[in-house]
């Protein structure tokens, strides 16, 4: 018999150690899998974790990769803290990108100071609207937000696919499913570092992502809104006693997390792609779930967690190029990471005790 008993007190060192131990175990298990698949484990780990950050411009690209993850995860933290399980950030990201794209494509001649804020607002509203569907269905009809938000992701994927092949396709695209390129005012510019110039793909969206995470941390720890979210997640009955409405909190956190995902979609397209196409996200909406949990649902830690996970992503690319490793292995690696984190979380909260099973006294009974 294996039984889990809750720990009375969780030491801070244990809490801090847990993600590190989980990452270490991921490395060990990952190395074993690479070995079994016939790759040199050390070379593979080198490609995963060292090669992608061996030059300054590569470090900059790491931040670029982490940018959407940090924005989305900062929003998801609110939902998960309130025990609302928004799994559909990927779909909300797509809708945000489309809403911002609608602004950029419909009014291409807007001046920069109007265009950028308008696209940011449109992006957030697009994601928020997509997040409102599971939120309202949950508060009105008590549907399961996990299922609805996840399924809406596939709706969003098909929706953008149809849009860029149909009504929004650039007539000059030679039949490719692409919208026209955004105007310059609708693009997020690269960062010019004094004395160095451009560094990799580093764009201003990265600064925005860091500010966004800080703002999320401030809201969660200092505002009455953050307090409502934490109380509702921790002790919903005490939340109702305090006068907070569970429905309002659900709508609020779905709005925040959906809006954040929409913003990430807008940033991703405006900074890196410049037009809408069927694939604008590489599963950022799903990967950000790992980031939020790796950060133990703390928006400041989301920055670090986002960088760690982005490193694993870039490392996957690097391993594919250098070692001809199949793409799915990267997915397996990310899966191991999430598995280890969740397991670590469980062992952090519970003691595990092993005991011999009670021998059933069945023999005597069957004789009778």
């Amino acid at each position: 018999m294996i039984s889990l008993t809750p720990r009375k007190e969780i030491p801070l060192t244990l809490t801090l150690m847990t993600p590190l131990v989980a990452i270490a175990l991921t490395l060990v298990v990952g190395a074993a899998i690479f070995g079994i698949l016939g790759y040199d484990p050390l070379a593979a780990l080198y490609q995963f974790f060292i090669a992608p950050v061996s030059r300054p411009d590569q470090v900059a690209d790491l931040f670029v990769k982490a940018c959407p993850l940090i924005i989305i995860a900062s929003g998801l933290v609110f939902a998960y803290r309130a025990n609302v399980w928004n799994i559909g950030a990927e779909g909300q990201l797509i809708l945000g990108a489309m809403a911002a794209g609608f602004v950029a494509l419909t009014w291409p001649n807007l001046p920069g100071p109007v265009m950028m804020p308008a696209m940011i607002i449109a992006g957030m509203l697009g994601g928020l609207a997509w997040g409102m569907i599971p939120a309202l269905l949950k508060t009105r009809f008590n549907t399961n937000e996990i299922l609805v938000s996840l399924m809406l992701t596939y709706v969003a994927v098909l929706f953008i696919d149809w849009t860029v092949r149909g009504p929004w396709r650039d007539p000059m695209s030679f039949g490719f499913p692409l919208t026209p390129m955004y105007a310059d005012a609708a693009l997020i510019s690269r960062v010019e570092l004094p004395g160095i110039g451009r560094l990799g793909q580093l764009h201003w969206g990265v600064a925005g992502a860091l500010i966004f995470a800080l703002a999320a941390w401030f809201m969660l720890s200092r505002s009455i809104l953050g307090f409502q979210v934490k109380v509702m997640g921790d002790a919903p009955r005490a939340g109702r006693f305090a006068g907070f409405s569970p429905a309002m909190v659900t709508i609020m956190v779905m709005g925040i997390s959906g809006g954040a995902a929409g913003l990430a979609g807008m940033v991703e397209v405006s900074a890196n792609i410049g037009q809408l196409q069927p694939d604008i996200s590489f599963g950022y909406g799903f990967t950000a779930i790992i980031v939020a949990f790796l950060a133990r649902l703390n928006p400041l830690a989301v920055i670090i967690a986002g960088l760690v996970v982005a490193l694993a992503e870039l490392g996957g690319d690097s391993a594919q190029i250098a070692l001809a490793m199949p793409k799915v292995v990267t997915g397996v690696f990310k899966g191991i990471l999430l598995f280890m984190l969740l397991a670590g979380e469980t062992f952090n909260r519970y003691h595990v005790t092993f005991s011999l099973p009670h021998r059933a006294r069945m023999q005597g009974d069957s004789d009778a």
């Binding site: 505002s223 009455i224 307090f227 109380v231 921790d234 009955r237 005490a238 006693f241 305090a242 006068g243």
Partner: protein
Amino acid sequence: MIATPRPSRNQSRSVLLNASGICKHFGDFTANDDVSFSIGEGEIHALLGENGAGKSTFVKMVYGLLQPDSGQIEWRGQPTVIRSPQHARELGIGMVFQHFSLFQALTVAENIALALPPGESLADLADRVRRMSAEYGIGVDPDARVHNLSVGQQQRVEIVRCLLQDPSLLIMDEPTSVLTPQETGQLFDVLRRFSEAGVAILFISHKLEEIRALTERATVLRRGRNVGTVDTAGQSSKQLAEMMVGDSVGDIAGQARPDGQTTALLEVASLVRPAGTAFATPLRQISFAARAGEVLGIAGIAGNGQDELMEALIGEWRGRDADVIRIDGVDITREGPSRRRQLGLGFVPEERNGHAAVPNMTLADNALLTSHSLGRVVTRGLVDADATRAMAAEVAGAFDVRLPQENPMASALSGGNLQKFVVGREISKRPRVFIVSQPTWGVDVGAALSIRTAILDLAASGSAVVMISQDLEEIFTISHRVAVLYDGALSEAMVTADVTPERLGLLMGGSAAAAGLAAEAQA
């Protein structure tokens, strides 16, 4: 004042169980420190102490659930190690726990059969139960299904289950906490008959009047130490309380009625609430008024609609009709808890953990829980952390909440301390109407006294207090008027001084007609 143990009147009886120098530690915590205890055959002996004084730890060692770290237990003069409850039962020690372990869907006889060694037919067992029941006047029907029995009857099933194993020592852990006064009286009659038949009874309680009514001797524990064994007949309740607390206990004087008819601050008119789930009690046409300067007690046994009523008063559940609940004439029926607090209501629900307070949050955050709508600690959506901290510290200081560290998690406080905090949190806002459920549930005597005093002070300052309580002693000590909640319906409010515990008990048991007769008979 500590009374020295006097020689018992029962020296002629031989000593059944003698424990000496018992110590038990849990980590750093000393639950029992050099506890000595002795009980004679057929004696009714109380083990008295506050919550956490070590009573349960001690009896668990006597019943073989725990092993002492040091010390010796003698059973009938022989040093004995009681290895397990099974072993204890073989020796002749039975125990009735505070929480019953009965299968609701089975009959009484089936439940009892499960606890006995196999081999006896159900019919024979039912016969034995019937005989024993008649012999001691227990009134247990072996064929009844447990879910149809009242709490008092279920307790008697547990007692019969112990008695069938022919014990010479019966341990009863807080047996009266769930009973009406009538049921308590019946239980005491049954226990006295056992005693006459030679069964010793170890009776755990913190209710002093009961101990004086039932037992011959009492052993008092305080913080794990034995502070003395006394003849209960020679002690007043106050003396016993002082032994328990180790401090002189203040007195709450009998409550004078507020002069004349003061204004009604809270009015409830025909509050109806359908049952939300199969386990909830619907509220049926509840009407009452709480007046300035009074404590209105709402008595009743758990599960008769207390939780549902409390939720409706807090505003966690809201009806659709207008003018059902009014404060100072303002209709608040459809207002939520925040708006009700702004209008001068304060609430303390029964459950501390997860309802009145969030265990995993600091006291400052828990102070914020009920003050965020009052406009002092939240400005432009931001929480003033210094203000909430100061508020929590102020409540802790004013209500003697002992803190293990500065601004601790609510879960780090003992039950009594957290209760003082949640009551103090509301009273310090001087609410016009204060609604509190079970204000001293699971709280030690000292804390209970300070909570009750604070409630009375609040009422004396002109507020109205509604106190839902299952503790009749509490109702009689501090309420000016009392109404009884039974099956979701509330009786007329009566002046507490004019009501007997018997009448209240009948109303709590649902016999409104009988209660009426009792009142006439008194007149």
